[in-house]
Amino acid sequence: MKKIPVDHITDGMVLAKEVHGKSGNVLLSKGLALNSFLGRRLKNWEIACVFIEGEDDSPEQKNETKVSPQEVREHLEQKFGTRLQSSIMKQIFTAVYQHKTSEGAA
């Protein structure tokens, strides 16, 4: 999935996330094939960016979305700190770690 400005929409791109209007209503649903006409409509609706299917090629976003499991673990360990001594907190830690890393792999 990658985020692109609506100006960069070209025919055949596929929406990876639904697009919401200002009032929160769904304007376009996930999986829809985009084209330049829809791109202009989105601009009229004052939508700046959309998420489309495909590999993320911006290095800035790569850092944000593709974090290695090791980095996830370190980040969580720092966040949980001494609270990991509690067995419940350890369970939460493990569940969140698995959740975050499996999300990245999907």
């Binding site: 009032s23 929160g24 509690s86 939460i92 969140v96 959740h99």
Partner: protein, 286 residues
């Protein structure tokens, strides 16, 4: 450190905080009467145009699942029911309150605080569903307002708020730990004092007062416990910023009381993500 003089001064200063619109009080009173009709409630809401238009915006958002179909308050009540509409009115008023004067404090990102509040509401709703708690919607509002004491401090006690933020940065501790050390009074007491003045429902008052120590609530330890756990999960998942970078410890009694040991945490985390995605749409309404 308990400081009664300082505590009194803090509590006194919150008496200057504006009350919630009278429309909330009127609705709460009307809803106590089982004879009340949808029209009557609709009429009361419509007397406050600002609230009424916000309610319609919220009702028609993807969050409530009837996008673009509801054009009158009475219609909203018929479709969604009294208590949902009451909750929407509350949500709309809270949005209004949060928006006032906010964001002026350097070093405190109000936008991210919003994400924290909305994510907590959404997560609380997901948890309520998973553990079979009946008050899902109130859990959403509970999450939304659990940290209202911080907003009040930021807006009305900027000096104290600044001191807490500095202490958090220095000691890398929790916001509440810094408050306890500095003042002996926390955003829980400050928030719930105001919640009480606003005549918010008792369970919501308790959420604000006890979300860090839910078992201290006599009647609403389950609701307060759901918000307590939602707060922990969303911090671990990195949603928004509530004033510090740590994670509070889960209350063991709450963990058992809510039945977490028999809940699939991985399914719960998926449900939380999904609910947060839906609630994100609300952010655009703020």
């Amino acid at each position: 450190m308990q400081n009664p003089v300082l505590m009194q001064r803090l509590l006194d200063s919150v008496t200057t905080i504006p009350t919630l619109p009278t429309v909330i009080e009127k609705i709460t009173r009307l809803l106590q009467n089982p004879q009340t009709s949808a029209e009557e409630v609709g009429k009361v809401i419509t007397t406050d145009q600002a609230i009424a238009s916000k309610v319609l915006k919220l009702v028609n958002s993807a969050f409530y699942g009837f996008p673009g179909k509801i054009s009158t308050i009475t219609h909203a009540i018929v479709i969604l029911g009294f208590s949902t509409v009451k909750n929407i009115v509350l949500t709309a008023s809270i949005f209004d309150f949060y928006k006032k004067k906010g964001g002026s404090f350097t070093g405190f990102d109000m936008e991210k605080f919003w994400v924290h509040s909305i994510a907590c509401g959404a997560a609380a709703q997901a948890i309520a569903r998973h553990v079979g708690h009946s008050d899902k919607e109130e859990c959403f509002i509970g999450g939304l307002i659990h940290d209202m004491g911080k907003i009040i401090m930021c807006q009305y006690l900027p000096q104290e708020f600044g001191a807490v933020i500095t202490r958090v940065a220095e000691k890398k501790c929790l916001f509440i730990e810094a408050e306890q050390e500095l003042f002996g009074i926390t955003h829980q007491e400050i928030g719930s004092t105001v919640a009480e003045r606003w005549n918010l429902p008792r369970n919501l008052q308790d959420v604000v007062r006890y979300h860090h120590n839910p078992t201290a609530s006599r009647e609403y330890s389950a609701t307060a416990g759901i918000i307590h756990s939602a707060d922990i999960f969303i911090r671990a998942l990195d949603h928004g910023f509530g004033g510090d970078y740590g994670i509070p410890t889960m209350n063991e009694q709450t963990w058992t009381q809510l039945g977490f040991p028999s809940v699939s945490l991985s399914a719960l985390l998926d449900a939380i993500d999904e609910e947060i995605d839906k609630a994100q749409a609300l952010l655009s309404l703020v």
